[in-house]
């Protein structure tokens, strides 16, 4: 088969593999799925104004994965949406701060508001963050700052707490 034809066939058979589309690593696919799940297992004690907004701080590592994930989804009747926020804002119900972002600035901006802060950097909980992704033997696990969540007016379901590593700010992990 002429090489050109086979390449053309390949492009037809694997439209997803067409160059240009951003390839998202499994790590961020999984983290996106976690974010979607966190929203289902966290309750905002104050009513949430629709839509419930999941913000991604700074550079977006999810491509369209997170957006596709929450499209047309509702949690407790409230539609979900995502937004990439270039700087600290206060319209987010959930904010994910990738390790490339200025984590401290974002955390400061939402301190004292009922915002679920999710991070992926060492010391994120110590800085006042609520849920932190950690890589453990190739699996993505998460730590929860339970007292911080309570202070922020968020109720985290027992199911999530059970699966998490519970960490208090300032307490070094063993």
């Amino acid at each position: 088969m002429p090489r050109r034809l086979s390449l053309a066939l390949l492009a037809v058979l694997f439209p997803l593999a067409v160059p240009g589309a951003q390839v998202i690593s499994d790590e961020y696919r999984v983290k996106a799925a976690y974010l979607y799940n966190f929203v289902r297992y966290v309750e905002w004690l104050e009513p949430v104004k629709a839509p419930l907004t999941i913000c991604v701080a700074g550079q977006n590592p999810f491509g369209t994965v997170l957006e596709d994930l929450v499209r047309n989804e509702r949690v407790r009747g409230i539609p979900l949406r995502t937004e990439v926020v270039p700087g600290p804002v206060d319209e987010c119900n959930v904010i994910f701060t990738p390790r490339t972002s200025n984590v401290q600035a974002y955390l400061k901006a939402v301190a004292g508001t009922p915002t679920l802060t999710v991070g992926e950097s060492k010391g994120f909980i110590d800085q006042g963050g609520l849920i932190n992704f950690v890589l453990d033997h190739g699996n993505v696990r998460f730590e929860i700052n339970r007292s911080g969540a309570e202070r922020a007016g968020l109720r985290i379901s027992s199911r999530l707490l059970q699966l998490a590593r519970l960490v208090e700010p300032g307490v070094e992990e063993p």
Binding site: D26, A33, N37, G138, N139, V140, S158
Partner: protein
């Protein structure tokens, strides 16, 4: 084979959709537990939900086990669709999917972390000896139907794959205590730690169970006490080679209704090593297991099993996922019979070995897959057996899958068939095994359909038909007694299995399982059988199960498990409907206080065995307990 070790993981590597098809839709379906298990460092292997597996499979999660409030592994199988789980007395169960159930059911492969636990003596499981800290069981996969190639020897009616948690997931302390009138105490303790790249855990368990009642109302004298200790070590780098070392020691004193002071011991030691070489992966596994059982006035025996397996998993040309391997096992046993039951010869060494290969072929990538497999197994009783399997699966949009399978699997002869000697009063020999006994052979076909259109609903349905030839018979020859064990019965099992998951709200999950089953046994033309297959099958036409799990505010969980089992024909056991309830309260995220009730609808009811005044009936039981975990 090690493929058996983690059928789901394997199933995933074998049956997985290629990486590109790891679509958004799939991602959305994954539970947090499943997300936690995905290895994001490797792109070739990934954990798929059971959605795409071309087999009739139920997965019982650790959460299911905890919330069912059951006290034994055997009882946890109540949670699997299509399995008839019946108790005969406190220490004896009759458990089988796809029919041919009895308290010596012998067509089920049962494994704990890939280590076979059925007794080579009769190919059945002594369920009273299989225990664990239930909170450290990661999941139980129940695969119905013949799957001998993929999962190993004796996978005739199905496979039960009990998988304990990786020790890195059981770090810290777990203490669980419970007590109630029928179970005076069940105490479990585990501690897990880490030393550089090695994680470990050690555990101990002690439990007591009180007498049930005879049909007459008198105590049945089947109280038992059991204890177990064990450890597990895991090491290696996730992307490199990994290893596992694991050992357990079990001891129990079981009274049997007419034979007090039975004593049972099991020891096992197991290692596994997984090495990536080039683009493939080698797994080597070995284990040693010792079983010691003393049933007064019946039989005392001990068996040593030594097993080695090796396999290679590789992908060729992007379209072929191949697993091949070989295994060898040596059983060495000794028996000490009684006036009624003995074995001839008294001691025996009997090896069994196998080679197998399986190719999972992507005919249309992401759509149509065909799995071809074959296994050749050689045993010391009947020689070589060829066990092929063909599976096809077709993936449709909206997470639908249609699959089909045709397979042959054998239940190979055991000492029970070849060497048994049964003596009656006055020393008359009543029955005798036969060296001419052949493997029982099952050929079965099944077709399944599964749909998971949303996270709130899924449906799984399977239709199957399987035929057993050379089924065990009891032949009365013209020469008179003794009756000789033969192969002149034939069996047929067909049915439909349906499972539906419905989650109307985030906080309310339900599951309905229904099995319609027809089994029949008939005599082959030259049969001189006098047993009528009464010891080979006693199956309900219908089994219905309903499960409901509710998460309430204030961290309260409510669970109900309703099951309804149709009458058994021969010997007759009446139908029954029973209910288990459990209420748990997470006082803190690490402390759970709970109340569990089992068999609440009847004062007591029988589940298996002939309608004698001494048939054991199971009483209503309640327990309270507390479970504490520290990080």
């Amino acid at each position: 084979m090690i493929s058996r070790c983690a059928a789901l993981l394997l199933a995933t590597s074998l049956f997985a959709v290629p990486p590109d098809a790891f679509a958004q839709e799939d991602l959305k379906r994954l539970s947090i537990e499943e997300l936690m298990r995905i290895d994001v460092t490797s792109s070739s292997r990934r954990l798929e939900p059971v959605g795409t597996t071309a087999a009739a499979i139920s997965v019982i999660t650790s959460d299911d086990i905890r919330r069912a409030g059951v006290t034994t592994i055997a009882d946890a199988l109540l949670l699997a669709d299509g399995v008839h789980t019946a108790r005969f007395n406190n220490g004896t169960w009759a458990i089988s999917p796809r029919g041919f159930n009895s308290n010596t059911a012998n067509k089920l492969l049962v494994m704990i972390d890939g280590r076979t636990v059925y007794s080579p003596l009769f190919s059945g499981v002594f369920w009273n000896m299989e225990d664990y800290v239930l909170g450290d069981i990661d999941r139980i996969e129940v695969i119905r139907g013949p799957g001998a190639v993929l999962w190993g020897s004796n996978a005739v009616n199905g496979v039960v794959n009990i998988i304990t948690r990786h020790s890195r997931d059981t770090q810290g302390t777990l203490v669980s205590l419970s007590s109630g009138p029928e179970d005076p105490f069940i105490a479990e303790a585990r501690y897990g730690g880490a030393l550089s790249s090695v994680t470990w855990r050690a555990y101990a368990k002690l439990a007591a169970r009180d007498d049930q009642r005879f049909a007459t109302g008198a105590p049945s004298g089947d109280a038992r006490r059991r204890g177990q200790i064990g450890f597990r070590l895991d090491g290696g780098a996730p992307a490199g080679s990994t290893w596992l070392l694991k050992g357990d020691a079990f001891h129990s004193r079981d009274h049997l209704p007419d034979r007090p002071h039975g004593e049972f011991t099991e020891l096992d030691l197991q290692m596994r090593w997984s090495i990536p070489i080039g683009g493939s992966r080698f797994d080597v596994q070995s284990y040693y297991r010792r079983e010691y059982r003393r049933v007064p006035q019946q039989l005392t025996h001990h068996i040593d099993v030594f097993d080695v397996d090796a396999q290679q998993t590789l992908r060729i040309g992007g379209r072929h996922d191949i697993v091949w391997g070989a295994g060898a096992r040596v059983n060495r046993d000794g028996t000490d019979g009684s006036a009624t039951l003995a074995f001839d010869p008294i001691d025996r060494v009997y090896p069994v070995s196998n080679v197998f290969v399986q190719d999972d072929i992507a005919i249309l990538p992401t759509r149509l897959f065909v799995t071809l497999g074959a296994k050749y197994e050689h045993n010391a009783f009947s020689g070589g057996e060829f066990q092929p399997n063909v599976r096809v699966r077709y993936l449709l949009p909206r997470r639908q899958i249609i699959w089909g399978s045709m397979a042959r699997a054998v239940r190979r002869p055991t000492r029970f068939d070849d060497d048994i000697v049964v003596t009656g009063p006055g020393g008359v020999e009543l029955a005798r095994g036969s060296d001419a006994f052949e493997s029982e052979s099952l050929v079965g076909g099944e077709i399944g359909y599964r749909i998971q259109p949303s996270g709130f609903f899924s449906l799984d349905a399977t239709v199957f038909r399987q035929r057993i030839t050379d089924l065990r018979s009891q032949e009365l020859l013209p020469s008179g007694l003794p009756v000789v064990v033969g192969n002149t019965l034939e069996g047929l099992a067909r049915g439909v299995e349906v499972g539906v998951n419905l989650q109307p709200f985030e906080w309310w999950r339900t599951h309905v399982g229904y099995t319609r089953l027809e089994t029949e046994i008939r005599r082959a033309s030259a049969s001189r059988d006098v047993g009528g297959g009464a010891t080979e099958a006693n199956d309900p036409d219908h089994v219905f199960g309903l499960r409901s799990s509710v998460d309430l505010p204030y961290r309260i969980e409510l669970d109900a498990l309703l099951r309804s089992v149709a009458a058994l024909p021969n010997p007759v056991v009446p139908s029954y409907t029973e209910l288990n309830l459990r209420a748990g309260w997470w006082a803190t995220p690490r402390t759970e206080i709970w109340f569990a009730g089992q068999d609440l609808l009847n004062n007591r009811h029988p589940e298996f065995g002939p309608a004698l005044p001494t048939r054991v009936e199971f009483e209503r039981s309640v327990r309270v307990g507390v479970t504490v975990r520290t990080p």
